[in-house]
Assembly symmetry: C2
Homo-oligomer: 384 residues x 2
């Protein structure tokens, strides 16, 4: 039995200028451009093996050891696009195996616990699209592939690049110009680091898809944000990245996180993602910056209470030193060189920290998750 | 010794269309018009006696039994305005005693605990201005007096009326058209009731004066709110009150509370007044409305985590019944006719409830707080 396969890894990205709002729901076309930082795959990545064989009976996806449903309109749209591109190549070159006609077996695993509540769909769809593109030997650029990933999960398009990434909203009705581009590679500013504070939450958040549609439909402030605030901020943030101006980048990042959550609160009925612990983290970052006499740390929050803190390696002592004082008792600290605070300093509500850096885009790998029968190998990666 | 005196009471008002932002700080001129509901003085009022005598050596104010500083620019501006009006009357009628030249002794008491964290400056300044106006026998309308109260504390101007009140922002540079007017008296909609949930808070809030200046200076969304949202909402809310359309009034009230807090969050650095308990109260109100199949309760939050819930008397059973389920174990319930929920339903973080109705504007009273020597009588009212 001939089985063709390719394995890749793809990273998580965390927006610093937020994507919130679709102008076209089925194509995942956004109401505004966004910017993100790609995080290191050493700490957070999805590994995906895509395989194709004439012997497979149906398309199947195993995610973290569990069979998942591939029959969603979004996933089907991605598979159709990739097969279409492969078919074009096969039509040009008769010697190519007809992979576009074969069923696919896809196996995917995250190296971070799902329980951490980190949005994994971006890394997941980026890895899915990149793995199949490798399997099909597609020659499209990552920007072209990002348009396909976008249809699976909007923010997934930004996980096709490492370093600093923009998702240009585009203006075409068919989405042909709504794609990710690299603002600057990891090598431009490799000292940028990130700390994730995983915040416990006792309630179910409104899903981003539902939430953003409600915001677009009901928030008066939202229209002003996308028309009058984001276009200018997009240019300013790109420039701050190119200038490696951390203070500017940080202020824009914090203002944009706040404004995104403000439009959630202006939604009717209101949507809350920040909780009291999130607010305490904001106050800690404000104190770190005020003690330093300059802006050396930036917070950002997505559609949930978890915080991501960006800082430059040169300020690690100050930033992590302060953070350790308040959150030193939880898991995830990889060294104990910082001074733990008094018990009364401790802020409750954070369940773990993840210390990481910015990282590269999707990578090919020799590590396969599929055995000779085209089925998942026994799980070896961390997942729960 | 001749002592002239007058005693009045003035109510608390709670904005349903929020005042947030000054266009002139010293005159307390707002960036937008606002609307409020006056609460019953049976539950929340300031009682103030103003007295004048040629024997008094200096202006003095006792608030809740403590001597307070009268030498603030705001209070001085109020006293100067009132003395100026009195002087005009004295110049026209030689037989009038020259009260405008006498020093004032003012004694003021609230009938609600300061610890409840309810903004008392509105009732306090309204009572102060109304008491001195009575003492001086001024013939100005309450709208005219509201302009003086406004200089003491912006929202105090709305406490010069009962029922439903608008503060028209005006356009004059000197503030001569920035005043309160009655939208509808208490008798128009006497079945409107209010429930206050006093929420415990462990942090010091940003003061409204500081907070609103920061919002005006830094929030991009704020400008849009005052220019494009509030003017339309002001007219719609007035009409909903005139129509006694509770559902419309309620939705506008909740949207405006949310949007006010959204602009606080869009302030840089962000200002948070709502805490996790406030959010749970919002969810309870959403559930009450969803269970009723119509909007029968409205929440609003000022610059702090306390909630005020408006509802119509006809829905009291449904609204208070549900509230009792979640908050039945705290002080302030005046009857126990509602079914208490299970322990697991109870929401912590509320320290007491105040059940009240809408009420009248300032009233003259025979109850004096000043003795024959022109000094405070021993306190008899509740205060702490």
């Amino acid at each position: 039995m001939s089985i063709y396969q390719a394995s890749v890894t793809a990273p998580v990205n965390i927006a610093t200028l937020k994507y919130w709002g679709k102008r076209d729901k089925s194509l995942n076309l956004p109401t505004n451009s966004s910017i993100s930082v790609t995080l290191s795959q050493d700490d957070l990545r999805t590994l995906t093996t895509a395989s194709a064989s004439p012997s497979f009976k149906e398309d199947q996806l195993w995610l973290n050891g569990k069979l998942e449903n591939l029959n969603t309109p979004r996933t089907q749209a991605c598979l159709a696009d990739l097969r279409q591109l492969r078919k074009q190549d096969e039509e040009k070159d008769d010697s190519l195996p007809k992979l576009s006609d074969y069923k696919l077996h896809i196996v995917s695993e995250n190296n971070f616990p799902t329980a951490a509540g980190l949005a994994s769909s971006a890394a997941g769809f980026a890895a899915l699209i990149f793995a199949i593109a490798k399997l099909f030997n597609l020659q499209q650029t990552n920007s072209e592939l990002s348009k396909i990933a976008r249809k699976g999960s909007g923010s997934a398009c930004r996980s096709l690049f490492g370093g600093f990434v923009a998702w240009e909203m585009g203006s075409q009705v068919d989405g042909s110009d709504s794609k990710a581009i690299e603002i600057a590679p990891l090598s431009h500013w490799p000292s940028m680091k990130a700390m994730i504070l995983v915040v416990s939450d006792d309630k179910k958040d409104t899903s981003s898809t539902t939430g953003m549609q409600a915001t677009v439909a009901t928030s008066d402030l939202f229209q002003h944000r996308i028309e009058n605030v984001v276009p200018k901020r997009f240019e300013e943030m790109k420039q701050a990245i190119l200038d490696k101006d951390f203070a500017k980048f940080a202020e824009l990042t914090m203002r944009d996180s706040n404004q995104f959550h403000a439009t959630c609160l202006d939604t009717y009925p209101p949507i809350f993602y920040l909780n009291d612990t999130s607010k305490k983290i904001i106050k800690v970052v404000e104190r770190i910056n005020s003690d330093a006499g300059e802006v050396i740390a930036a917070y950002t929050f997505d559609a949930g209470p978890n915080a991501v803190i960006y800082y430059d390696e040169k300020d690690e002592e100050k930033v992590l030193g302060a953070m350790y004082k308040y959150f030193g008792s939880v898991d995830g600290w990889n060294h104990k060189k910082f001074q733990h605070g008094n018990n009364e300093d401790e802020i409750k509500g954070v369940s773990r920290v993840i210390l990481t850096t910015i990282g590269e885009g999707p990578q090919s790998t020799e590590e396969s998750l599929i055995n000779e029968s085209g089925l998942p190998k026994l799980a070896t990666s961390t997942n729960n």
